[in-house]
């Protein structure tokens, strides 16, 4: 595309690469419009992006590990995960309500957002690409056991599977089951077993080395 003759007063040319995905151009166009219309300030946008990419699943893992070693904390986490996160000095993010869902011997939860990509970003970091993909978003609600098998997790028939479609303002975090033979491990070692995928509910936590 030639820009030799453009006559609008665009302040600058964007840096682009030839193999850039189409969506990147679309995002920039939206960004420009939001700035132009004064919906957000550029620095505010930068701060939000920096905050988002600074988040990691380590924060979610801390909550889970604490719940594994402290039954009272687990009760508080399941009652109000936002408040429980604040208790551990973990930033629960802008969502007003975070709900923790406990996996047990009999019940397994997995989370999806069929409408877009709602995800507890503050506690898990940016969502993986597959979480935002159409195949995951459609199949997680119609063939969840098949999806789990593709992630390497085969549930027993008598385990009740509960898919949670995160359609609105609530963010959901799965509290996976504590792996066997971890009685000797401290909280930090336990936290290192808690993977992102186990807190989405598509995997079990790692097993102790």
């Amino acid at each position: 595309m030639s820009h030799d003759h453009h006559d609008h007063d665009h302040p600058h040319e964007h840096l682009t690469t030839a193999d850039e995905p189409v969506v990147a151009a679309r995002v920039r166009a939206l960004e420009d419009l939001l700035l132009e219309k004064g919906v957000v300030e550029r620095d505010e946008l930068r701060q939000r992006i920096d905050w988002l990419v600074s988040r990691t699943p380590a924060d979610g893992a801390r909550l889970v590990a604490r719940a594994w070693v402290d039954e009272d904390f687990k009760t508080r986490l399941l009652a109000d995960a936002r408040q429980a996160a604040l208790e551990l000095d973990v930033d629960p993010g802008p969502s007003p309500v975070v709900v923790a869902l406990e996996n047990t011997e009999n019940v397994h939860h997995m989370v999806v957002c069929t409408l877009c990509s709602c995800y507890p970003r503050a506690l898990l970091g940016p969502p993986p690409d597959w979480y935002k993909s159409l195949p995951y978003r459609s199949r997680a609600v119609s063939d969840p056991r098949g999806v789990l098998r593709e992630f390497g997790l085969t549930l027993e028939d008598d385990v009740e599977l509960r898919v949670v479609d995160s359609t609105a303002d609530i963010r959901y975090l799965v509290v996976p089951r504590r792996p066997a033979r971890t009685d000797e491990l401290g909280e930090d070692a336990l936290a290192s077993l808690v993977t992102r995928d186990s807190m989405i509910g598509v995997a079990q936590p790692l097993t102790a080395a």
Partner: protein
Amino acid sequence: MSFTPGERVHVSSRAHNGHHRTPGYLKGKTGTVERVHDRFLNPETRAYGEDGTPAQRLYLVGFELGDLWPTYRGGAGDRLAADVFEHWLEPAP
């Protein structure tokens, strides 16, 4: 019309031309209220530059996967829950 946990509810099957947070696969289905959440600003008007008031009550509604998909081949107890705003719910007939 407000609902309490355990109550059977029907998700309205009305069409809605514009942004809304009720997934199509749940429209016309019957489920059970599992949790009563807070009220939240209405995404259907917020999406178009309005302030989203009055805030709408949000519910976590549970469904049997076998009720959602006639060909579902999973465990008989497999369930799905989704957050649905009150103005999309009716008492189950």
